[in-house]
């Protein structure tokens, strides 16, 4: 029997309002279990719409979205949350929470209304904090954390869900070099050591080329290129997606370095179709 696909989009399209162009159209995408897939694309290309489609926040207006061989609409939310964790760009929590409380929220899909979390639950949260290096910070309010630490806490919260599949929406946004590398290394480690399937939206092509085995390039609501980093990150493909011109340098084992050399202006090529 073939391994079930983690994600499968079949001719999927999303239209937010009647009369508007589709934010995504005719997307066919299969992500097999295991591996790190990075989704790239210009601003407004439909990457976040893709994440919302893949995680069941949004239903496709056309076609179908499946998770582990079952239409997303058929997944009860709670059961879905035990298999799929999502790290989004969310506002800071509305109430003061310590890092431990924040990470423990990842256990929500496993909790019942009446029983208090037992020692096993607490141990799991403690282990997750240790693994993500947040142990020393567990009593600190989340609002006091730096950007890098907060991203770490978000990842820890997602891991506390014990997911099979992890989706991250721009996990390296606002992070410095070192923290961005840490995020990619952490994702790589989850894939290699725990067999978690990771799908990550990012603008960081250089790190993605180095750590992901598959890149999916989205532009104007469609999949423009899909394959190994060296097949996707080539000047003609990038120039078609982003407009302007780019240089790509192959650094061997260190991945690829992508440098833009000119830019045709916002929305010139890669923005949403109007």
């Amino acid at each position: 029997m073939p391994e079930p696909a983690a994600f499968e989009l079949l001719g999927a399209g999303v239209r937010y309002r009647d009369g508007e162009p589709e934010a995504l159209r005719d997307v066919d995408l299969r992500v097999d279990a295991g591996g790190l897939t990075a989704v790239l694309g210009p601003n407004g290309a439909g990457k976040t719409t893709l994440v919302r489609l893949l995680t069941g926040v949004l239903e496709p207006t056309r076609g179908e979205a499946r998770f582990l061989d079952r239409p997303l609409a058929k997944w009860p939310r709670r059961e879905l949350a035990r298999r799929l964790a999502v790290v989004t760009q969310e506002p800071p929590p509305a109430v003061p929470l310590t890092v431990r409380e924040y990470v423990a929220l990842g256990r929500t899909p496993y909790m019942s209304p009446w029983s208090a979390p037992g020692p096993a639950e607490r141990a799991l949260v403690a282990r997750t904090l240790e693994r993500t290096g947040l142990g020393p910070l567990e009593r600190r309010p989340v609002s006091d954390l730096s950007g890098g630490e907060r991203q770490r806490a978000k990842l820890a919260r997602a891991l506390a869900q014990e997911p099979e599949v992890l989706v991250l929406d721009e996990p390296t946004a606002h992070l410095d070099l070192g923290h961005a590398l840490w995020v990619f290394d952490a994702m790589r480690e989850l894939v290699m050591q725990q067999g978690i399937t990771v799908l990550c939206i990012t603008h960081d092509m250089n790190l993605a080329s180095r750590r992901a085995e598959r890149l999916v390039l989205i532009g104007r609501g469609r999949v423009l290129a899909d394959g190994a980093p060296r097949d996707v990150l080539v000047p003609p493909v990038l120039e078609a997606a982003y407009g302007g011109s780019v240089e790509v340098h192959d650094l061997g084992a260190s991945g690829l370095a992508v440098l833009p050399t000119s830019f045709a202006g916002p929305g010139a090529r890669g923005g949403p179709a109007v």
Binding site: R77, A94, E101, T108, P113
Partner: protein, 332 residues
């Protein structure tokens, strides 16, 4: 750095405080009674029929009504704050208070005071429900409640019914005017055992909804989309919690009038002292709100005897300085 929170200690402290407040409320009232007379009236062995009536038909239902009102308002406030992710949210946010005030003032002025307090309460309840219904109808689009529309609609509907109240008051006779204004300030005067039963239902509804949904309310602190990713059925949780919290607010308003401050501040104080986890926040808010209101009502009856002050005024005057001290400490 924060000390370890001990919600269980909080529960014990607040329970003890509630027992003391209830005892104080029964022992003290607008009419002074010797402690012995109160005790024997409670035990049923009193020979003084006046003391018997005062203790069993006036003070006992009154302190219980106070406790249930305070508890329901505090829990309702905690629910609203969780749903709207806004510390300024309070039980009257959806226009319940002005809708109810309009109903009550209409009953007092147009229909006439002859119909009695039960009718005033009934009209207040109907007005409150009407306001909630309008606000929900506006904010409810394609199977989801839009939070921003909800707040705006609440504010606007409040303004509308507020204007209605002003209109009726401006046309009212002097004595009716006074009783209508007093009603809008909140009072537990003349609370019957029926009122206690009704308040009990309101408090029960919010307590059950709050506890059943507590883990989801915790998740909602992260935002609706993040909560959905944690397995929370966001729209269902919002519907149930809004309806329970608004119903409770409508019931308290119809029995005790508009009592501000408790629903806004008690949940905050509880959060500062014992953390934001709704599994403990809801029950501790129930206790904290009950203590606050029973103490405030006892003060309202005794501080300017034989005058009884509006309870809403007392909750604010006593509570605000206390809360400011708490805020200052938490900020430091």
């Amino acid at each position: 750095m924060r000390a370890v929170r001990r919600p269980l200690v909080g529960g014990i402290l607040l329970s003890a405080a509630l027992v003391a407040a209830l005892a104080g409320g029964v022992a003290l009232g607008s009419v002074p009674l010797p402690p012995g007379a109160v005790w024997s009236a409670l035990a049923g062995s009193g020979r003084d029929p006046t003391a018997l009536t005062i203790v069993r038909s006036i003070r006992l239902p009154r302190v219980l009504a106070g406790a249930l009102t305070g508890g329901a308002l505090a829990m309702s406030g905690a629910l609203f704050q969780a749903l709207l992710r806004n510390p300024l949210a309070e039980p009257y946010l959806l226009g319940v208070s002005s809708g109810a005030a309009f109903g009550a003032v209409a009953a007092l002025t147009v229909i006439g005071p002859a119909l009695g307090t039960l009718t005033t309460g009934g009209f207040a309840f109907a007005g409150g429900l009407l306001a909630i219904a309008i606000v929900f109808r506006v904010a409810w689009t394609v199977g989801r409640v839009d939070t921003r529309v909800l707040i705006l609609a609440g504010v606007v509907v409040s303004a509308f019914f507020g204007a209605g109240v002003m209109l009726l008051l401006s046309l009212a006779r002097g004595d009716v005017f006074r009783s209508a204004v007093l009603w809008t300030m909140g009072s537990l005067d003349g609370t019957s055992w029926n009122g206690v039963g009704l308040l009990g239902l309101g408090a029960l509804a919010t307590a059950v909804a709050g506890l059943m949904l507590s883990r989801h309310l915790n998740a909602l602190a992260l935002g609706e989309e993040a909560a959905a990713h944690l397995g929370t059925p966001v729209e269902r949780v919002k519907r149930i919690a809004y309806v329970a919290a608004s119903l409770a607010a409508a019931i308290t308003v119809s029995v005790a009038g508009v009592i501000g401050f408790v629903g806004l501040v008690v949940p905050h104080a509880v959060r500062m002292a014992w953390g934001s986890d709704h599994r403990t926040l809801i029950p501790l808010s129930l206790l904290g709100g009950a203590v606050t209101l029973v103490v405030a009502d006892t003060v309202a009856q005794t501080v300017a005897r034989p005058l009884v002050l509006p309870i809403g005024v007392v909750t604010a005057v006593l509570g605000v300085p206390l809360f400011l001290v708490l805020l200052r400490r938490a900020g430091a």
